[in-house]
Amino acid sequence: MLIEAMEQLNPTKVFIYDQFRVFFKHTDYHGFVHPYNYFEWTSYVREAFFQETVPNFREILETPIKMMTVKISSSLLSDSNFGDTFEARLVVGKIKKVSFDMIIRFFNLRTQKVACETIHTIVFVDSQTAKFADIPSEMKTVIINYEE
């Protein structure tokens, strides 16, 4: 009862990006989506997320604080084919002082299955001092709403 009440007070937001359709160039020799595409689409989803949710994201990009991907993993969970469309569902995890994880699940709208899950860790670095930097406050304010 208490948990349900807390979830209603603070539900995790999910950022959804639904602009993915499988074209021939995304398929492999056997007619399935090549796993590389999920990595490329992962970069599109995260950038769409920041552009749509962080009002001054372009200005942040002009500062010495740079965002770097330090690790990424992907799990292929089901096959997809030409013509399929995906809804990429993004949530955030492990928010720390200088880093956080972005978890993206590619949901195939035809098969109604998650085709792939990618998790990548982003760290912030001050390019002038070459030291780790805090997550910019404008971004942190946003990502905490999406923490899973």
Partner: protein, 149 residues
């Protein structure tokens, strides 16, 4: 005290970072390193991939991960050493060590796990012999390696 020398064989793939690989931050964007893993694993297996083989067998990636240690810029020569590990009846892993040629600076560490399935039924099948023959000479025990992939 016992001393031993250990010579590690690896499949080597080389790539020169092109301007078109880099983004507005002047570095190669992270998805391109993942693309290089697929290029290197394709290069390893290309001698097996004739039409008849592909008509019956499909390599299917199950899991992949990569850690990034150092960024690269256009003109860098990247050497990718590929080793195999955890070869069993139906699946195996490939380990990728990305280095800058010359300085030997570590760029990244990658790992992919594959299984083979039949092209028709998409059901797991034993590792084809010719694939196993390519993997055995470059097999390593991950417990003995300098890096954790």
């Amino acid at each position: 005290m016992e001393y031993f020398s250990y010579s590690q064989k690896a499949f080597v793939y080389k790539y020169v970072v092109m301007l078109s690989d880099t983004d507005q931050f002047k570095h190669m964007s992270f998805a391109n390193y993942l693309k290089l893993m697929f290029l290197a694993s394709d290069a390893l297996f290309v001698s097996c991939f004739d039409v008849e083989f592909l008509a019956n067998n499909r390599s299917k990636m199950v899991h992949s991960r990569m850690q990034f240690k150092h960024q690269t810029v256009a003109g860098d020569n990247i050497i990718i050493n590929v080793n195999s590990s955890e070869i069993n009846a139906s699946q195996f892993s490939l380990l990728f060590t990305f280095l800058i040629e010359g300085s030997a600076k570590l760029v990244g560490l990658g790992r992919q796990t594959y299984k083979f399935v039949s092209s028709h039924a998409q059901k797991p099948i034993p590792l084809p012999t010719r694939i196993r023959d390519l993997l055995i000479p470059i097999e390593v025990d991950e417990k003995n390696l300098l890096y954790a992939y």
